[in-house]
């Protein structure tokens, strides 16, 4: 279970999170939608301790992570897998080396076993053919999928997806959506996805929350969100030009 309670964060001179509160149950897939620059990635960075809130509390399985010491934070992060928005592959390692990296650094498995597991995850995202390529040879969507394989390779309990379908073609997006659903179904993972791709949000979410001005202005099941009365949410999900959202 993951819980944000009244989290505030100012970056530079901008109040990015302003009383953000939400709760994600174990085994749930929660999707946060919102416009670019509204603080979705910043929310993730708080969850994994890369940023500390100015005020408020963040709890994972009941533990207050904002007061964690570095060692405890290290332990916590073992439970997380995170796909970064930019994929964040190390550019001097091949795709398979990137995916294998967490295992290589944290386990004593023999190299052949590590490679086997890395390839299994690459199969999952349909990148097996690109295993020996360097990240610079990949398209944006392929990098994303490689990042996804790397996030999953340690079999985490909680997976964070930062815009997993951005830059992917519709077929591949559908594949990724199904992958996210599958893993939740099979492994009981807790997943949080950040996206502004509504199709993907509807496809994977148990619940959707819309981040606006630093807090969630609406939380509900995909059906509830589809029928929302909130004009801001309505404008965002329908992608219309007319409405309360400025430019």
């Amino acid at each position: 279970m993951i819980e944000f309670v009244n989290v505030h964060k100012t970056l530079g001179d901008r109040k990015v999170l302003d009383g953000l509160t939400f709760r994600v149950e174990r085994g749930e897939t929660f999707v946060i939608i919102g416009r670019s620059g509204c603080g979705k990635s910043v929310t993730f960075k708080h969850l994994v301790g890369l940023l500390k809130p100015d005020a408020g509390s963040i709890r994972v399985e009941g533990q207050e992570t904002t007061r964690f010491r570095p060692r405890e934070m290290l332990e916590l992060r073992h439970r997380f897998g995170m796909l970064f928005q930019s994929a964040a592959l190390l550019n001097w390692l091949t795709v398979e080396e990137n995916v294998a990296l967490p295992l290589r650094e944290h386990t004593r498995l023999p190299p052949s076993e590590i490679l086997l597991r890395a390839h299994a995850k690459l199969d999952l995202v349909d990148l097996r053919d690109a295993a020996r390529k360097m990240p610079s040879e990949l398209s944006g969507g392929m990098k994303k999928r490689a990042g996804l394989a790397r996030a999953l390779v340690r079999e985490p309990q909680i997976v964070l997806y930062d815009e997993p379908t951005a830059g992917l073609d519709p077929v591949m997006s559908a594949r990724i959506n199904r992958l996210v659903r599958d893993m939740q179904g099979r492994l009981g993972l807790t997943s949080i996805m950040v996206t502004h791709d509504m199709e993907s949000a509807y496809a994977v979410a148990d619940r959707i929350g819309m981040l606006y001005n630093g807090r969630l202005i609406e939380v509900g099941t995909p059906d509830q969100v589809r029928k929302t009365q909130n004009p801001i949410v309505r404008q965002f999900i329908t992608g219309s030009l007319e409405g309360p959202l400025g430019d």
């Binding site: 960075k45 994994v48 890369l50 290290l74 992060r77 073992h78 997380f80 995170m82 970064f84 928005q85 930019s86 964040a88 592959l89 190390l90 550019n91 990296l101 967490p102 650094e105 944290h106 790397r150 340690r154």
Partner: protein
């Protein structure tokens, strides 16, 4: 006036915090040397990049430094008819001052800046964050191999520069000042006590630590995309130059005091 005080104060705090960060980073980096064996491949790669690939530049710079040194001082000494002693001057100044400083400046420009650019690019493209989330210490993974490689290679390159510079002086001595090689080298060996060479190599070791620390810490603190990486790279060179020159003075005065 208030604005000035405020800005100066802000700047001082900033420098203090950067310095603190760099010192802690170096300490952390040396702490992780205990996993040097696991990271031997990366360390070897860094040794290659910063050591071996710097050899040609060091060769050129050192040889011409030794040559100009012999030329300038030799011409003056010829006025007093003591140009035969030129080997002493060249060897002593190469080993004590020129070798370490020249090498440090080349390394700061060639290797330190590359470290800042590389780590800076990783920082602004979230790769450092990704390492942290994977519970992989960026210091162990990235900083330690660079720090260790430079700390080891700086004295090696310096010894090489000392040697090459002295040889350069010999060539000028022979062709311009008509000093036979045996005389030159006898003089050179005459004046050199082991401490001259050792003190130069100690300096070089310190410079290696300084350059790697500045490069890595600037890189890891880069912000704001490509522009920030550019700034980190530039700062790393300027700061490393300044620190090397300052450290050089104090290291000289310490070694002179004790030996």
């Amino acid at each position: 006036m208030i604005g000035f005080v405020e800005r100066t104060g802000h700047r001082v705090l900033q420098v203090a915090s950067h310095t603190g960060y760099a010192v802690l980073l170096a300490a952390d980096g040396f702490y992780w040397v205990r996993s040097a064996w696991q990271k031997r491949e990366v360390i070897f790669q860094q040794v290659l990049i910063c050591g071996v690939l710097s050899l040609p530049v060091v060769l050129l710079v050192a040889i011409f430094s030794g040559m100009v040194l012999a030329l300038q001082t030799g011409m003056e000494m010829a006025k007093f008819g003591v140009e035969g002693q030129i080997g002493k001057i060249v060897a002593a100044s190469m080993c004590r001052e020129m070798g370490p400083i020249m090498t440090a400046i080349i390394i700061a420009g060639r290797v330190g800046s590359a470290m800042a650019a590389e780590l800076g690019t990783m920082k602004v493209s979230e790769e450092i964050d990704a390492l942290e989330v994977m519970s992989i210490s960026p210091v162990r993974f990235l900083v330690m191999p660079r720090l260790l490689a430079l700390t080891l290679m700086c004295p090696v390159l310096t010894a090489y520069a000392d040697l090459v510079g002295t040889l350069g002086g010999a060539v000028v001595g022979f062709y311009q000042l008509r000093i036979p090689y045996p005389e030159y080298f006898r003089n050179a060996l005459d004046v050199l006590v082991p401490m001259d060479i050792i003190s130069g190599l100690i300096k070089a070791t310190v410079f290696g630590v300084v350059i790697a620390t500045v490069g890595c810490s600037q890189g890891l603190q880069a912000e704001n995309g490509a522009e920030g990486v550019g700034r980190a790279t530039r700062n790393s060179v300027v700061i490393a130059f300044i620190l090397v020159i300052i450290f050089n003075y104090f290291l000289t005065s310490i070694t002179r005091h004790f030996f």
